[in-house]
C-alpha cells in the first residue's frame, strides 16, 4: 500500500511510497478500512494479510450446455451460478479443474491518497489462485 498525505492526489501518485507498519497502524484508526483485523500479526510493513470470506459463487455446470460469450449478460451468468456460504472456520473444498469466486472476509475501503493490490501469497498463486479488485457502483468498498 502506498500514499503521500501531504500532496494532492495527482502529485502523490508520482511520488508514491510504501506505507510502513507504523503508518498502516495509524491510518487503520483514521481513514483506511481493512476490517476486522483479528490478529496484530496481520499487519506488516507495506502489507495487511487478509483472508477469504464466507461467501462463494460457483458455477452449476449442469445448468449450461454452452456459453456464447457474445450473448453473455449478467442475468445469463447468474442463471448458472449459485451462492454458497461456508460458516467462519469451516472448509470449502475446491476440487481440481473447478472454479469458484470468493471475496475477502475483510471489508476494505481506501482513502483517495492510498492505493493497494490484493495479491495471493506464493503457494496459493502457484495453485492458480487469482485475485482481482471489483469496482463497485458506489463508494462502498470491498474486494472481490
Amino acid at each position: 500500500m502506498s500514499a503521500d498525505q501531504s500532496m494532492p492526489v495527482s502529485e502523490s501518485l508520482t511520488s508514491a511510497a510504501v506505507l510502513s507498519k507504523e503508518t498502516l497502524l495509524r491510518r487503520l484508526k483514521e481513514d483506511l478500512i481493512v476490517s476486522p483485523i483479528l490478529e496484530p500479526s496481520q499487519i506488516g510493513d507495506g502489507s495487511v494479510d487478509i483472508s477469504l470470506g464466507t461467501r462463494f459463487i460457483r458455477s452449476r455446470r449442469a445448468k449450461a450446455t454452452e456459453i456464447n460469450f457474445r450473448e453473455l449478460d449478467k442475468e445469463k451468468i447468474r442463471s448458472f451460478q449459485e451462492s454458497v456460504v461456508v460458516p467462519f472456520g469451516e472448509h470449502y473444498i475446491l476440487h481440481s479443474r473447478s472454479f469458484v469466486l470468493g471475496c475477502t472476509f475483510e471489508f476494505i475501503a481506501l482513502p483517495l491518497d492510498v492505493c493497494g493490490f490484493v495479491l495471493a501469497d506464493r503457494p496459493m498463486a502457484e495453485q492458480g489462485f487469482l485475485s482481482q479488485l471489483r469496482r463497485l457502483s458506489t463508494r462502498v468498498g470491498g474486494a472481490a
Partner: protein, 486 residues
Amino acid sequence: MQSIDQKTYLEVFEQKLHSLRKLVQDLRRGLPNRTSDQFIQGLNLIIDAVELFLHQRVDNLKAALAGNPLELAEQIAFHSKVALRILGALHEEYLPLLHAESQRNEYLVYPSIDRAVRLFTESFELTLVPDFEYNYAFVGKENFASREIELLEAHSDQGTKSALAALRGKTALKQWITFLHFPVADRDSALNLCVLAHELAHLVDEATKIYQKLLPIELDKSSFDELVDARCNTPAYGGITASTSGPQLTFEKIFTKPGVEARCYLSCNEVLERWIREIIADILAIHAIGPASYFAFNDFFAYMGAENIPSSSHPAPAFRLQLMLDELKDTMGYMSSSSAIDSVLTEAMPRVAAGANAAKYKDEANVVQKTIEKNPGKNADNFLAKIRPVISGYSFKASAYGQQVPDVLRRLRSGIAPIEVLDSSGAMSPASVVAILNAGWELYKTDIDGFYGEFRGDVPKMERLANLNHLLFKAIEASEVARRWK
C-alpha cells in the same frame, strides 16, 4: 367391512418408516454443519420410538392372539394405522421446518442471535425458518422428543413402556428446541429482521416464565359484566333454533347465566394470557435492541397492511407501538434531546397515540384491553415493572445509544460496513450488533437520501437499499467473528 387388506397397513408402515428416515437424512445433508442437530436427533428418536412401539405391539398381539388369525390381523391393522398417523404427523409438521431451514439467509446472523439468547438460557437449540406466510412467529418445544415418546408410553403395555422409556433415556437433548419463523421476503433485510428480537423474547419468556409472575390478573369488572350480559342475550343460532315459532333461544337459556359467565371468564383469560405474552415480548425486545425494534414493527405492520384492530392473539398494532414508545420515553430515556433519533420518535408519539385511541375493541378484546389499561399505570406494582428486571442488565438505553451509535452511523453513512469502531482506549473493537441495527434504522429514517446519493451510476433505489442491508449483514457477521476471536 374392510376395503383395504389388513396386511397392507403393516407393509405401508415399513415403507413410510423407510422413506421418512431417508428424507430426514437427505434434509440433514442439505443443512450447514451442526444446524438443527438436536432437532434431527429428536426426530430420529421419535421415529425409532414409533417403530419400537408398533413392533412390540405386534409381537405381543401375535403371542396373545395366536389362535385367532382374523382378530390378530384386525388388531395389527389397527395399531399400524395409529403408527402411520404419527409418522404422517411427523412428515407434515416437522419436515417442512428442516426443508425451510436450508433456504435461510446466506449471511450468518445466527451466531449473534445465539449469543443473545445465551444470556438468558443455555439449554436450547434455535432454528431459523424462512416462511412463505408473511409473518414472524416463535414455536418452542420443551423436552421435544421425550414428550412425544411419553404419549406413546401412555398407550403401551408394561414391556413396551419400559423399552420406550429406555430409548427416551438414551439421548439427552436440549430442554428447548425452538423455531423462529420469518417471512422469506425479509431474508435479505437486516432492518426488517429486527422483528426477530420480539420472537426471541418469547423464548426468554418461556424459559424464565415471566408470564407466570404476571398472571392471573383480575379482569375488569364492568366490561366483563357487559360481556356476560351481551352473551346471555345472544340468540343461539347454528341449528339450535330449528323452530321458527316461540321465544328466541338465547345462550342464557341453554347454558344458564353462571354457565355463560364461566365460558366468558375462560375465553377472556385465554385472550389475556396471549396478549400479556405479546406485551412481555414487545417490552423485552424494545429494551434489548432499542428504537430498532419499534421501527421494525412499525414497518412490519405497514408491510402486512395490518388493520388497527386487535385479534384473539395480539393487541391492536397501535396500542403495541404506543407501549413501545412509552417504554422508550419513560424508562429508557429517549425523546429527551433534539438528536435526530429522538426527533423521529417524538414526532411519532401523537400519531401513534391517536391510533391507539382510535382502535376499536369488542367482546373479549374489550374486557382484556380494559384490564390491561387499568394495570400499566404509573404505580410501581404494575405488570410492566415485573418485566423490566429480567432485561435491565441489557437494556439499550438512550445513554448507550448516544455512546455507541454515532460512530457506527458515521461509517455506515460513508458506505462502510461498521464492523469495528474505535473504543475509549483508542483501539479498534467490534461494534455491538444492537448499535449496528440502530445505526441502520437511524440512517434509513433520517438520511436515506444522503446514503442513496453516495451511489454513482444508474442504480435503482431498491438496489441502494439492498446495499445498506448488505453492509449491515456484513457488519453483524464480521463483528461477531471479531468478538469471538478476541
